[in-house]
């Protein structure tokens, strides 16, 4: 599991790769929160393009980051979900909590 953080124009993107479960989610949470709490970006994009596996721990991860970003009025986007991740994301109804985009350059949300 690895996280790569990019910062551009007050927006933060976390490029996630590997497998997201309860074990690895802790690590991701730590890295993202540390940077986001310092920078307080307007928007955080979680990019799932490199994620091969995700269980409901990934849902908890997104929900927790939404809560964090709300503390300073920021928003969360999730991008590049493969069909397997999409299945669990729609089961959880995450579209009610954050914006789901096809890729990080997509400005139009599909909801």
């Amino acid at each position: 599991m690895s996280v790569r953080l990019l910062l551009k124009d007050g927006e933060m993107t976390a490029i996630l790769s590997g497998e997201i479960d309860h074990h690895s989610a802790r690590e991701i949470r730590g890295e993202v929160d540390e940077a986001a709490s310092k920078v307080k970006p307007k928007r955080l994009t979680l990019d799932f393009s490199g994620v091969q596996f995700m269980d409901s721990s990934g849902i908890g991860l997104v929900m927790g980051r939404c809560k964090l970003m709300q503390m300073w009025g920021g928003s969360v986007r999730i991008a590049n979900l493969n069909p397997k991740i999409e299945k669990i994301v729609s089961l959880a109804g995450l579209n009610q909590l954050c914006t789901i985009v096809k890729d990080v350059n997509d400005h139009e949300a599909y909801e």
């Binding site: 497998e19 479960d21 309860h22 074990h23 989610a25 802790r26 949470r29 596996f53 995700m54 269980d55 409901s56 721990s57 849902i59 908890g60 991860l61 929900m63 927790g64 069909p83 397997k84 669990i88 089961l91 959880a92």
Partner: protein, 151 residues
């Protein structure tokens, strides 16, 4: 009629979170004998990951215990997976199985574990005794592929 399994395996491991990936990978490697599609295998891995995580986060909260997984394969392409712990048990199984119910807010659990198991597998049965442990049994039938039918 009770079917006899054609193959069976059991693994046991400690409830360290680092073993979550081991648990699902072990079941997936065994299930591969049924020639599942990548999607079917992914469903199985996700369901196992949820059950194993429940053992770690809930059953053995603040302790380390042993998680037991038994898998059986059947001639009709069915796999049964039983994931068992000797942890704290669940007082009210029905309540615990409700989507979004969680007793573990601090860990950022979404409360979706059982909902995911239920929707990714064909059947799900949960039995639990407070103070004794919990057992989760799931089934999935792997569809025969076209190529196999023709031969």
């Amino acid at each position: 009629m009770i079917m006899k399994p054609t193959n069976e395996m059991t693994v046991s491991f400690l409830s360290c979170s680092a073993n979550e990936s081991f648990g699902r990978a072990a079941v997936a490697a065994f299930a591969a004998q049924l020639d599942p599609t990548i999607d079917e295998l992914s469903d199985i891995k996700t369901a196992v990951s949820e059950a194993v995580t429940n053992c770690i986060v809930h059953a053995y909260r603040d302790t380390i215990g042993v998680i037991y997984i038994t898998c059986k394969l059947y001639e009709n392409g069915q796999i049964s997976i039983r994931i068992r712990d000797k942890g704290c048990g669940i007082e009210d199984v029905e309540k615990a199985m409700q989507p979004l119910f969680t007793t573990s807010d601090s860990e950022e659990r979404a409360g979706l574990g059982f909902a995911v198991m239920e929707s990714f597998m064909d059947t799900l049965r949960v039995t639990s005794k407070p103070g004794k442990g919990t057992s989760v049994t799931m089934h999935k039938t792997i569809k025969r592929r076209q190529a196999e039918k023709n031969t």
